[in-house]
Symmetry: C2
Subunit: 288 residues, 2 copies
């Protein structure tokens, strides 16, 4: 260290191009809520997003399959050139973070589960946290384990809310049907566990239902969105590693999908919060 700065926490060789994009992948469109949060928090960064739509959903696949798919997705993004990798998928985050860190070092890797668990633990006063997610994420237990590592004394109640995914993809995010479904999933959870004071959204689709969820739970319950918390964690780590972009470059977001760019664009527009033109979605193949 000739400049007297603290030890460089980045293992990149000197001269890493800070203008490289941040790579983000998910099984489909869900991770676009994470991309949206990343972009709002880090407007000077470029992003390269890959939705593995040909093999979605990951949530019902075995851990071995999801790990293999994650390695292929990461490999693809690394070959395109990225300076950081974000796993914007709960299922992939639960099985692949460590493996991808080892395989693609020195590129740092962050998932959505750890930041969500940290924020949930920071939010809870009662020590009782509710997690809502897909069936695969709940059964995999990744949030329960992540919270247990941080606060072993906390109680975690995890509930699968499978229909929320379809509601988000269908664009049904308010109205009586959505309210009834939200109550059907959440009311028994809060009735059985009245001390729950924090509700962690453990699925990237669920931020689209944020308003309906807020309306359905006691206002004293904090709702923690793992997309927003992942963006905070990434911003902090980019600063710590001195990997932030030196300026802004266009296009700021490049989108790729492994199948169905039309549907990706149409449904993805709602998730990204801005119009996506199918012609701007590059169709890529991870397997052949």
């Amino acid at each position: 260290m000739t400049d007297g700065s603290p030890a460089n926490t980045s293992a990149f060789p000197a001269g890493i191009d800070l203008r490289l994009p941040i790579g983000v992948f998910d099984s489909g469109v869900g991770g676009l809520t994470v991309l949206r949060a990343l972009r709002e928090r880090l407007p000077d960064e470029r992003f390269l997003y890959l939705g593995d739509t040909a093999r979605l959903p990951y949530g019902t696949k075995s851990g071995d399959s999801v790990l293999r798919y994650s390695i292929q997705a990461a490999q693809f993004l690394v070959q395109r050139g990225i300076k950081y990798l974000v796993i914007a998928c709960n299922t992939a985050s639960s099985v692949a973070v460590e493996a991808l860190r080892q395989r693609f070092a020195p590129i740092p890797v962050i998932g959505v589960i750890e930041p969500g668990a940290v924020a949930g633990c920071a939010s809870s006063r009662s020590g009782q946290i509710g997690v809502i997610a897909t069936e695969g994420t709940v059964q995999g237990g990744a949030y329960q384990q992540a919270i247990g590592r941080i606060r072993p004394e906390f109680a975690v109640v995890a509930e699968p809310c499978s229909l929320f995914v379809s509601l988000a993809e269908e664009g049904w995010t308010d109205g009586p049907i959505v309210e009834a479904i939200v109550h059907r999933y959440l009311d028994p959870m809060f009735a059985a566990h009245p001390q729950l004071d924090t509700l962690l959204l453990g699925c990237t689709h669920f931020p689209l239902l944020l308003e309906a969820l807020r309306a359905a739970v006691d206002p004293r319950v904090a709702i923690v969105d793992s997309a927003a918390t992942t963006a905070e964690a990434l911003a902090a780590d980019l600063a710590r590693r001195k990997l932030g972009a030196p300026g802004k470059f266009e296009p700021a977001i490049s989108l790729m999908a492994t199948d169905g760019p039309q549907r990706f664009a149409r449904v993805g527009s709602r998730f990204l919060g801005r119009p996506v033109d199918a012609r701007q979605v590059e169709l890529v193949d991870l397997v052949r």
Copy 2:
């Protein structure tokens, strides 16, 4: 023809083993409603069912991908030994019937779309048929085309009902939420097309919602279930080809899945209409 019987419509070499099972494949559990109908209609036959759960859903994949998956699934079943192939998946039926017939001749191949379209045309008096299906099936236009080939003068109104899939998989098949969702999808369809007198269920998940659908539409509307009609068509073709089983053999149904046998068994029990033990679901790999 030494016995004076009409020309043998089966292209099998003499001596085909009629005790061979009928192969059935789908992207997941949905085709189990078809298997259930087949088994009820043909109780003396053996069945070999493959759910390609590792790659579900097919409905959002491109035609090329679905064709490739279908060939792999069919190849697998053919290698196990089958005398007939049923494509119990609307998406695969819409792209793969002809290709599989050519590739796997002399094994006969039937899909779910043609029998459903035939039954729908036979049912309608007004010449206006409603089709409800997944988004992929509706956009692919397979039912519209199949009906158009039979009755070019008929009008077809096709409506995607994406949430029905999640409701069926979640086991929510009655009650106010289901009723509200059914009305939200169907009421505008029937209001805009009051002459509709036939509703064709173009998704293998939808028979689970049959009662809720019946309650939501005018009793004069006929609801045509493509699972039941496919079973009828298969029974007729087995008789025509002299491919029916000479007797009953156990086990009558063998189940295989490419991923997640636990979930396949749990959700599949509802679709098959009888308990499925995960230990009886063989995990197979089509790709490696």
